[in-house]
Symmetry: C2
DNA sequence: AATTACCTGTTGCATTTGCAACAAAAATAA
DNA sequence: TTATTTTTGTTGCAAATGCAACAGGTAATT
C-alpha cells in the first residue's frame, strides 16, 4: 500500500527548502478550538504537526457529522474542503494541536527559483486528500453497520501493519465518521466479538479474520 | 458554484496544444463493455468524449456497487481510482462511449517545450476527481434514505441550474450509487411525492422545496 | 479532592430499511 | 415483427437500525 504524504517524492533538503520558501506560521490550539472556518478570506493551508483535528459538517437541521479527521502529517484547507451553500464546515481541534499554516497563494505561484517543487507539493496534497476521500467512500458505501466497521478496521490494520491497533477516534466519534447511530454501532461491535471476528479492550482492537492480512499488500 | 473540468484555466489553443502533444488514442465502446481494469500495465487515462460509464466495485462477497459515474468531459484512470487488494474495480460502459486515452507517463513528464500545462492539467484532474468524491461523501454520509435522495437531487439541481432535471442514472443504478436498497428507494421517492417535496415523470424530477435555489449560488 | 463533563455500554421499543417475490412497462435484441 | 432482457413500481414480512433514556466509568477541570 502506497503511503501518501505532503512531501512525498521530495528529499528532506527539498522539504526544508520549501518550508523556508513558504515560511509557514505555527500556531497552537487547545481542545475544542475552531482552527479554520473556510471563510473566503482564509488563504491558508494547515499542516498538522501534532495532535488531531476533525473536519465537521453541520447540516441545515443542525446535525453534526465528522467528514474527515487529521493526524500528524495530514493537511487541510479551503481548497481541499467540500464547498456548500447549505451546510457549515469547520476544522475542530480534538486535542491540543500544533498546526503549520502555509499561504497557498505562495504555494500556487511559481517561486523566484522557478522550482517545480511547489507543484509537486500541490499534487501531493490533492492526491493525499483524494485517497482519504476514496477510503471514506469505500467505508460509507458498505451496506451494513457490520461491513462498515469491518472495512474501517481493515484500513486501520493496513495502516498500522498489525492485526492489533488503537483507534485514532473515540468510539463516539467513530460512529459519526461512519454515519451510523452510536448505540447501534456498540451493539454490532458486541456481535462481532461474540462471533469471534474481533476482540477489543477499550479502543484497542484486534481483527481475527485473517483471510486478508496486511502482509498481502 | 465552480465547475471543474480537465482543461479549466487553459485556453482552447492550449487545450489543442496539449492534445496534440499527448496525442490521445480514441476508442469506441459498446454498452456493457469493460473499458478499463486497472491492471498495473495500464498507463492510460481515459477522457469521456461522449456516452456514460461507471466505476464499479465488486467486493469479496460479489456485491456490486457504483462508486462513480462519468459523463462527457469526465476522466478516469488507475492514478485517480481507489486501490484495493480485496475488491475488484473496473470501468464499465453504460451506453455507447467514445473515450480518448492519454498516456500518463507523458502527462507526468515535462514536454520538450518545458510547458507547465501538463501540470495544470494534472492538478485539474485531481481536483475534478476530489470534488466528485466529496460530493459522494456528502450524499453517503446522510443518515436516511430521504436525506440521501434530497442531497443527491440538490446536486443535480445545482448542476443543471434548474429545479427540473433528468437524472444521469437510471433509478436502478441510482440506488447502487446511493448504496441503498432499490425498493426502499422507490418507496421513499413515493413518500417524497406524497409530501409534495418532489414531482417526477420517469427519471425527470422537479424539486419543489425552494428554500435554497441554484440562484443562491 | 470534589465537581463536572464526556465517553462507554446497555436496553426496550418504534421506525426504517432490506429482502424476496412478482407484475407491468419499457427498452433492446433477434 | 416477436422475443428477451432490463427497468420500474409495488407489497408483505423479517431484520436491522435509530431513538431515548439511563447507569457506570473515565478523564478533565476547578
Amino acid at each position: 500500500m502506497i503511503k501518501y504524504s505532503p512531501f512525498e517524492g521530495l528529499t528532506s533538503g527539498e522539504t526544508a527548502e520549501i518550508r523556508s520558501c513558504l515560511c509557514p506560521i505555527e500556531k497552537i490550539y487547545g481542545k475544542g478550538d475552531i482552527i479554520m472556518q473556510f471563510s473566503d478570506k482564509d488563504r491558508n493551508l494547515g499542516l498538522v504537526d501534532s495532535g488531531t483535528a476533525y473536519l465537521i459538517r453541520i447540516d441545515i437541521d443542525g446535525n453534526r457529522s465528522i467528514i474527515d479527521y487529521y493526524e500528524s502529517g495530514d493537511v487541510f484547507g479551503k481548497m481541499l474542503a467540500p464547498e456548500s451553500e447549505i451546510d457549515a464546515y469547520y476544522i475542530l481541534a480534538k486535542e491540543k494541536c500544533r498546526i503549520s499554516f502555509f499561504n497557498y497563494d505562495k504555494l500556487l505561484s511559481k517561486c523566484k527559483n522557478n522550482c517545480i517543487k511547489h507543484t509537486v507539493l500541490l499534487n501531493n496534497l490533492l492526491m493525499l486528500t483524494l485517497k482519504k476521500a476514496q477510503m471514506h467512500i469505500d467505508i460509507l458505501s458498505q451496506r451494513t453497520t457490520r461491513q462498515k466497521l469491518i472495512t474501517y478496521f481493515d484500513y486501520q490494520r493496513n495502516k498500522n501493519l498489525s492485526d492489533t491497533f488503537t483507534l485514532p477516534l473515540s468510539l463516539s466519534d467513530l460512529s459519526d465518521y461512519l454515519s451510523i447511530d452510536r448505540s447501534a454501532m456498540m451493539r454490532e461491535i458486541r456481535n462481532l466479538k461474540e462471533d469471534n471476528l474481533i476482540s477489543a479492550d477499550g479502543n484497542r482492537f484486534t481483527l481475527k479474520n485473517s483471510r486478508y492480512t496486511y502482509a498481502d499488500c
